[in-house]
Symmetry: C2
Subunit: 265 residues, 2 copies
């Protein structure tokens, strides 16, 4: 298994997308990443801004956004159309042969509408990594394409679904580990997992399951980072070669050398 | 050249897209079309409705819509996101392995921003059929995918462009004629080219260049249909096997037998 070809899967969130100069700088670095690669982008604030302009009211239950019909149309337009095609056309201009995709395209990521228990999340989609069509994605990569995923899937019954971009990235990583040595990078607004939220430079360099459990027990970790680390540890445990969490500026600079950020192992 | 595999390229316009029941019925017929196929969709009224809600003002010069920055964002969202992904997810539910694309994706249709002469059309893109990456499209078709094109291209310098769906369909038909026996079908709201605009059933069954010239000279043809027929005749003259103009309900019913509609030859 050690001679598998390397594949980089890189996820960017709103902090990169919301600033045109930031985004351009990131995409220039991304375009230069050698070898096969996949980009997964989140949403950013533009969907909320468009939603406000359209007079769509954002709905929350227990602090969690609900994907009603209007919101589903909004994210399909903004994530699947505006953001995705702007990223694809920008990458094309940088010599990277990008192809914009959602989970519905080529049926790459069929998902399940989240079952209603105490909360009805609306058109939220949960992916089963085993259902990802890694072979189809490999065909795209093999003809020289760089897939760029919007955070959208579908229910295979004719409806698009809103899906968390972190989960899309880890599901792709798991599925593609069947063919590649997958390096998964989560780019966010911090330099990595911080020992102390107040200190931007207190990056924890390495986290494994025992470290994570210990840090959770002491309450050292910011609650927002917990699902990201949990996702990352699961990915490692299921065969992804490497997961790194950090700032976009740091992660793509020296991919071959020892990277900045937090390595999950 | 006679033993080339058949490829159907089908273009649908606003009249099919604007009505959910119409669209579903059309897509069911499209999903049943045998062999390799490509769908090209236009815009429909939803972009204008969204534009109004967003407070974007439609701009016209000499009766022609200008694609300013706001309009470009609008059509990228609505055509490239909302319409395209709704069509793709609907086709997936019907067992057709659709993949949504614009001309920017996989750099399939690089275009040129229309040069400013007397009118500045803004972000309008003109395609050079010779620049279409037919080989890339063939790769998609060969792995069992059905490309679904939104009426968008890109300038290869990082900007999306608004491009007429009829032109996208004929450019794809020309380029793909290098590999396939291409049957191009333009579905619109009439049963075909009408001898008399007042009589819905006065369909002209066959039009070739001399017939077209004669009809133009007598003023028999509605001005709106002229570019469509001109496009179709050019396609035939450049190697497309068959072009048919007609109503969606008629064209996809009996593809193997003598079809209804107007055959351009």
């Amino acid at each position: 298994m050690t001679d598998r070809e390397k594949l980089s899967i890189i996820k960017i969130g709103g902090n990169v997308l919301d600033d045109a100069a930031n985004l351009k700088a990131f995409l220039q670095r991304f375009a230069c990443v050698e070898g096969k690669k996949v980009l997964v982008h989140g949403g950013g604030k533009i969907a909320s801004r468009m939603g406000e302009k359209l007079g769509f009211e954002a709905k929350y239950v227990d602090g969690r956004r609900i994907t009603d019909d209007e919101t589903m149309d909004l994210v399909t337009m903004v994530y699947g159309g505006l953001v995705n095609k702007q990223v694809v056309s920008a990458l094309q201009a940088m010599g990277c042969n990008a192809v914009g995709l959602t989970g519905a395209d080529a049926n790459i990521m069929p998902a399940t509408k989240r079952p209603v228990k105490t909360i009805d999340y609306g058109w939220a989609g949960d992916i089963d990594a085993a259902a990802v069509d890694a072979k189809m994605l490999k065909s795209f990569l093999d003809i020289g394409l760089t897939p760029v995923f919007a955070p959208l899937t579908h229910d295979t019954m004719g409806h698009m679904l809103n899906t968390n971009a972190d989960t899309i990235a880890s599901s792709l990583a798991l599925a593609l580990s069947a063919f590649f040595e997958v390096h998964l990078m989560y780019c966010f607004e911090k330099k990595g997992v911080l020992q102390s939220v107040e200190d931007e430079n207190s990056v924890v360099r390495r986290i494994d399951r025992p470290t994570f459990d210990a840090m959770k027990a002491t309450g050292a970790l910011h609650s927002g980072i917990l699902p990201k680390i949990e996702n990352a540890l699961l990915a490692i445990e299921k065969g992804v070669a490497r997961v790194i969490i950090g700032h976009a500026d740091d992660l793509l600079e020296n991919l071959t050398e020892d990277v900045l950020g937090t390595i999950i192992e």
